[in-house]
């Protein structure tokens, strides 16, 4: 049985409620994976897919 490291130590994956929260924003797409044990949040991972920022180098008209 697979175990997950949490603030309460290793817990069986089967006993955890796992929820993914996906947020798409202008500057990043975020995926937060929340693990709850009897309603208590015991682990939260975040994956942030960063989007570009642009350097602006422009030639001014003469």
């Amino acid at each position: 049985m697979q175990s997950i490291a949490t603030i309460l130590g290793l817990l069986p994956r089967d006993e955890l409620e796992i929820r993914e929260v996906v947020t798409d924003e202008a500057q990043a797409t975020l995926v937060a994976t929340e693990y709850r044990y009897h309603g208590q949040l015991v682990r939260r991972d975040v994956e942030a897919r960063l989007k570009p920022i642009d350097l602006t180098l422009e030639a001014k008209e003469m």
Partner: protein, 140 residues
């Protein structure tokens, strides 16, 4: 066909490559949502930086095996691997990462933001976009 004004893409590439070359030693630090870190910051600062279990002040190293490239009139660059903070607990909301160069007195490269997040006994992964003219992390 008319002429067009513009900064040469060669200049853009050279300007970016002057900083993001093999001599750079980049790191990525995280900042609290309550901080004011941004484009006006010239260098890494500990002010407003996150703290928590398994997070080291100054952040983590950033892989920089990608050369600055050109497609059309765009010069671009992306770190060569995702940035990870494994097994951390960052219980106060953070919403920004600064990439900076320890080989140049910690001078800042840029700050990227996202909605406020926390991490509990978990891993924060900053997934790098495709390194192309449309998606690269830094474009000019």
């Amino acid at each position: 066909m008319a002429n067009t004004a513009g900064v040469s893409v060669q200049f853009k590439q050279d300007a970016m490559a002057a900083i993001l070359n093999g001599a750079s030693a980049l790191k990525a630090a995280l900042y609290l949502a309550s901080a004011t870190t941004g484009a006006a910051n010239t260098a890494y600062t500990a002010t407003g930086e996150v703290s928590g279990a398994n997070y080291t002040a100054g952040g983590v190293a950033v892989a920089n095996a990608n050369a600055v490239q050109i497609t059309g009139s765009t010069a671009y660059w992306t770190p060569s691997a995702n940035i990870q903070y494994p097994n951390v607990t960052l219980s106060t909301s953070f919403d920004a990462v600064m990439i900076y160069d320890t080989a140049r007195a910690n001078k800042a490269i840029g700050v990227w933001t996202f909605s406020p997040q926390t991490v509990i006994a978990g891993t924060l992964t900053l997934v790098m976009p495709a390194n192309d003219a449309a998606n690269a992390l830094l474009r000019s």
